[in-house]
Point group: C2
Chain length 312, copies 2
């Protein structure tokens, strides 16, 4: 009974950016509370080496706890084959792999070319297929910096199309296209997703926006107009942006839910319960600012969430 799907990526993308250390118990409380509010998919951690991001040392524990939430799709990020293997062993339902459309950004991020990254993804697909128990794990091909890059500036849409086609050829179950550094504008979003959907056919495509330049919600609306119905977001826009002090990070989950529900689109998420989850984060990470408009302004008088209508 959902028109759009909003996926929480805060426990991964938000926590990746913050300096504070989030205790496992708080992560679990956060994930459980969002699942209870109606969020059906949460990216709970990143299977990176512990020495690279100590925040994710407790991946196994967090995944195990999340798997107990009824109906929740438990996803995680894996930047390489080794991380993917850890993810499979932990029992995630979905793994997100990531490479950058910008060669320079990919080199700087994972120290290899995008072609090498693609071949690594191919090996991850083969690894999954080699083990009966892992066959149902969905593999999402992520394309970072798809709308621009802090090193190269403009990123060609042709490059994004080529990467998407390769991902599909190598066995990606879905694609996730990201405006990693907040460069996208609504016209570009509309054009890129329209073109991408014609290129990849039935393979589901989701959008991942950052709000660095204030356009996160406008870009989400533009993506919706281009037929995208699955969106990543982060509660409270947590994490900010390393390149823009004071700017929020991912598009804010509760603001995105509000926008769609106000438009009459069912997210299946209870907005009030979602907003209440901010308290868990504020308590666990008192030094980290939370962003977002709807938690502060409250919904309009007489506001009826589309999801609550359908529940009547």
């Amino acid at each position: 009974m959902r028109d759009v799907t909003i996926r929480e990526v805060g426990p991964r993308d938000g926590l990746q950016m913050v300096k504070s250390f989030c205790p496992s118990a708080a992560k679990q409380a956060w994930i459980a509370a969002e699942a209870a509010a109606g969020v059906t998919e949460i990216q709970v951690c990143s299977f990176v080496p512990v020495k690279v991001i100590p925040q994710f040392a407790d991946c196994g524990e967090v995944v195990a706890h999340a798997l107990l939430r009824p109906g929740l799709i438990v996803s995680a990020l894996a930047p390489n084959l080794k991380g993917a293997q850890r993810g499979f062993e932990a029992g995630v339902h979905k793994l997100g792999y990531v490479l950058s459309a910008s060669e320079s950004h990919n080199l700087s991020n994972v120290r290899r070319s995008t072609d090498e990254s693609l071949l690594d993804f191919k090996r991850i697909v083969e690894l999954r297929n080699s083990n009966e128990e892992w066959r149902n794990v969905r593999l999402a091909g992520g394309i970072s910096t798809a709308f621009g890059c802090t090193i190269e500036g403009e990123v060609s849409a042709d490059v994004v199309m080529r990467l998407a086609e390769k991902y599909v050829e190598y066995g990606a179950d879905e694609l996730n296209v990201a405006d990693t550094v907040g460069y996208a504008n609504p016209g570009q979003v509309r054009d890129l997703f329209t073109r991408l959907r014609s290129v990849v056919g039935d393979v589901p495509v989701s959008a991942h926006f950052h709000d660095t330049r204030g356009l996160g919600l406008a870009n989400s609306y533009a993506a919706l107009e281009a037929g995208i119905t699955t969106f990543d977001a982060c509660l409270g826009g947590m994490g900010g942006c390393p390149f823009a002090p004071g700017a929020s990070g991912n598009v804010v989950t509760e603001d995105l839910v509000f926008m769609f529900e106000a438009m009459g689109l069912r997210t299946g998420i209870d907005l009030d319960r979602l907003i209440a989850v901010r308290e868990i984060i504020q308590e666990a990470l008192p030094g980290e600012p939370l962003y977002g408009a709807i938690a502060r302004a409250k919904p309009p008088k007489g506001f009826r969430a589309a999801s609550s209508d359908s529940a009547r």
Copy 2:
């Protein structure tokens, strides 16, 4: 050479909301600097009784100074016939009149029914037409709370259509439709403006959004998609919202300019020079917070403004 027109309303709508008193010299410097940055229309004050809003005691002086800016359309707000007469006498190029689509809001705001407000507008048109010197003053019919109201909640689109038709019948040269309290969502914006344009034909319609719930830019994009090309905005989103502490006021001028220029639409406004105008306001009103993303995050690497392309 403009694809969209962004009108600065900060000296009126922004200053109307702030507690600090803005000296005339600062208003003049602000207006002059925005005109120099390429802003072609500025709402410079409101002809309300001085005892109601002392901030606007210097309307005559501010208008006289603004009229010296070459090519600038000098507009002002007039809430009633008496204010309009003062505006005509001051020599403005355009007067914005305002009534609320919500009866309760109109009663609370100007202590009369919307029908009485419309008749007052009719008298303003007659007053203008009665004087040879005033005949060229454009009269804009404003419809406040067109997307919802803090008193009534939902506002019917039928009411907005009726008011728009009456405005046109009584001689409005253009219409300005406002989401006064930040209730609008992009779907509603698209639908209302699409319908309104079919109702009022060739009469120009502009949009006025507040960013109370974070949807100001998404709503602007939705209005653009519905054919609207003229938008009100306020530098730094100054003024905030009395109903939502910490929320910005009008949609932020520089963010709106950035969005359109990034989309390849020429605003004719130099973004860097526009952002620099914030310093004038910060110096004059040090206690007032300024909002906005692009001033903080800076444009993307390799960003080419559409307006700068056309100037080559």
